[in-house]
């Protein structure tokens, strides 16, 4: 896949969950070498859209195309070689080391009883290095901090060596320092040529890292564009119901919020 090639195209997606329409008219486009951030209020359908695109959630209408091929044509392991997915809350099992976990991420490359090769072990090592977690590869997951754990989750996804990385609110539980680490990592991966799709809550973070922002409101994509444009004051008021403005200068971003409405 060349930089700029379309990796994922989602159009007019509709998802009903438990009799309620969660998404209707959601869409986005993701290209190689780009980081696209999906933002929106709680319950707007951000996670649902990304999960549907990732093939983890059935949808009632619309189209999901990976590299120009419909989702149904690239199920199972084929899809796992195209996109990796970092969930919002991964399970943290007992007795599993960082190295074990990242090795599991590599399993999409192996058939049922096939053994991992030296090339697979190298891919695991690369993923550990890239995510900055190789220093504690022998520690158990249950002993890691939230920030370390999230970088391990990303390493698990990187071991897949898929050209697309999707992450569902990877920083929602992290402190400022850990959030910055994850942000730098994801931005760096996009600069390396991966297509990165990030669901985020934090608008100033989204604005800082994204090439393009997709705003989801009540199940629809209501805006798509560069952060400064998609997240202008009028849209912040319309979608979040808040008097706020986004400031971007010299790689720094800030969200100025009239917290108490004054």
């Amino acid at each position: 896949m060349q930089r700029g090639d379309t990796a994922l195209e989602v159009t007019d997606l509709r998802v009903d969950l438990g009799g309620k329409t969660v998404l209707d008219g959601a869409g986005l486009t993701l290209r190689a070498g780009e980081l696209v951030t999906v933002v929106g209020p709680n319950g707007a359908g951000k996670s649902t859209m990304v999960r549907a695109a990732a093939g983890l959630q059935a949808f009632q209408r619309g189209a999901v195309e990976w590299m120009g091929r419909p989702l149904d044509a690239v199920r199972g392991r084929k899809l796992a070689l195209i996109r990796a997915f970092v969930p919002q809350r991964g399970r943290v099992p007992d007795g599993v080391t960082v190295n074990d976990a990242v090795t599991i991420g590599r399993s999409a490359h192996l058939r049922m009883l096939q053994r991992a090769t030296r090339a697979d072990q190298k891919a695991v090592n690369r993923a550990l290095e890239r995510a900055g977690v190789s220093g504690f590869r022998d520690r158990h997951l249950s002993t890691l901090s939230g920030g370390e754990l999230q970088r391990v989750q990303i390493a698990v996804a990187l071991a897949q060596e898929a050209p697309v990385l999707m992450a569902d609110e990877p920083t929602s539980q992290l402190d400022l320092g850990a959030t910055v680490d994850v942000a730098k990592l994801l931005r760096g991966l996009a600069d390396d040529g991966l297509a990165v799709l990030l669901v985020a809550h934090d608008l100033s973070l989204a604005a800082a890292v994204a090439d393009e922002v997709v705003v989801i409101h009540q199940g629809r994509s209501v805006a798509t564009g560069p952060p400064g444009q998609a997240l202008d004051a009028a849209r912040l008021r319309e979608v979040w119901g808040v008097d706020a403005s986004l400031e971007m200068a010299g790689g720094r971003t800030a969200l100025h919020v009239a917290w108490l409405g004054r």
Binding site: L56, R77, P87, G90, V96, A101, I104, S107, L113
Partner: protein, 328 residues
């Protein structure tokens, strides 16, 4: 890391071989080890030693091995598939179902005692099938919570059935105690001939599920994004565990505790939860533990046989607690 896993597996295998030899040599009659070897190699002269080793102790020892291995693997599969350290063949209703089936034969049809393994097998599998049917339909089909709740409900139902039968036939309850406590018998190959295909299928499915189970460790989303199908894996693990546990119950009564404890012992000793290690090591560990336990049960108060179930608990719990204290 790899070294430790290999060491644990090696210790398990050595224990299994020693247990196997001891189980054939020891008992009410002591058979010298060279006579045991001769009998196994077919070089022994016809006589009581050959008779004891080949027709009484060998089938019993093999039963102990397959039952121990089956329960160990069943527990490892369920704990992995349900992501729950408390899982054992009890939680999918197999143990209670098998108990009911056996008690039904023992109390209501005491004349057809030969059907005991069939009854245990059929009702054990039927209970599991009901649990799966409930858990895999409707909302949240295939979720862990639903499966565990359905299992607990079904276990309660079959246990109530067992208790009712025992109340209805108070004069025959004596015959049931040995089965419920769990224990092996020296009745030749007859029971194994009925049960082995079920166990074999269970072991083969287990082998195929090793890597899919590892993927489940990081949660259903990660597993699905890696191309696994979490619900299908869970169903497969449940079916394999049901076959193994029902087969084990048919041979040796209710020893479900082994299925709970063996995978934990193996994980704590090996320092890893990777199924490539846990599943085979649970098979070896379960087999070694039950062969050793059965040998002890036959020898400590010979010629009286102690029920192996309670004895296993007495041996297993201190070992388990010791490992638990050392664990991080």
């Amino acid at each position: 890391m790899i070294l430790r896993r290999t060491a644990v597996l090696a210790v398990g295998l050595v224990a299994l071989v020693c247990g196997f030899a001891a189980s054939l040599a020891l008992g009410a009659v002591q058979v010298p080890l060279h006579d045991v070897i001769d009998a196994l190699l077919g070089k022994a002269e016809p006589g009581p030693f050959k008779q004891i080793v080949l027709t009484l102790r060998l089938p019993r020892t093999v039963e102990a091995m397959v039952v121990g291995a089956g329960l160990g693997v069943a527990g490892a599969l369920l704990q992995g598939a349900l992501g729950n350290p408390l899982a054992s063949p009890d939680v999918i209703g197999v143990t209670a179902g098998a108990g009911f089936g056996a008690v039904l034969i023992l109390l209501v049809f005491p004349g057809s005692i030969a059907l005991l393994p069939v009854g245990a097998l059929v009702f054990g599998l039927a209970a599991a099938a009901l649990v799966f049917a409930i858990a895999w339909t409707g909302q949240n089909a295939g979720s862990v919570g639903k499966l565990i709740l359905a299992g607990i409900a079904m276990a309660a139902l079959f246990t109530a059935g067992t208790t009712s039968l025992m109340t209805a036939y108070p004069d025959r309850v004596q015959s049931v105690i040995f089965f419920i406590a769990g224990g092996l018998t020296s009745e030749g190959w007859r029971e194994l001939e009925v049960v082995w295909p079920y166990l074999a299928v269970g072991f083969v499915i287990a082998l195929g599920l090793i890597r899919p189970l590892d993927r489940l460790a990081l949660g259903d989303d990660v597993a699905a994004s890696l191309g696994a199908r979490p619900r299908l894996v869970r169903l497969g693990a449940g079916i394999a565990a049901a076959l193994l546990a029902a087969g084990a119950a048919a041979l040796a009564g209710l020893l479900g505790f082994l299925g709970l404890i063996v995978p934990h012992v193996v994980r704590l000793a090996g320092g890893t939860a990777s199924h490539t290690f846990v599943v085979p090591a649970s098979a070896v560990g379960g087999a070694a533990l039950l062969v050793a336990g059965d040998t002890l049960a036959r020898t400590v108060r010979a010629p009286i046989e102690l029920p192996v179930g309670p004895l296993m608990v007495v041996i297993g719990v201190p070992l388990f607690l010791w490992l638990l204290r050392k664990a991080v």
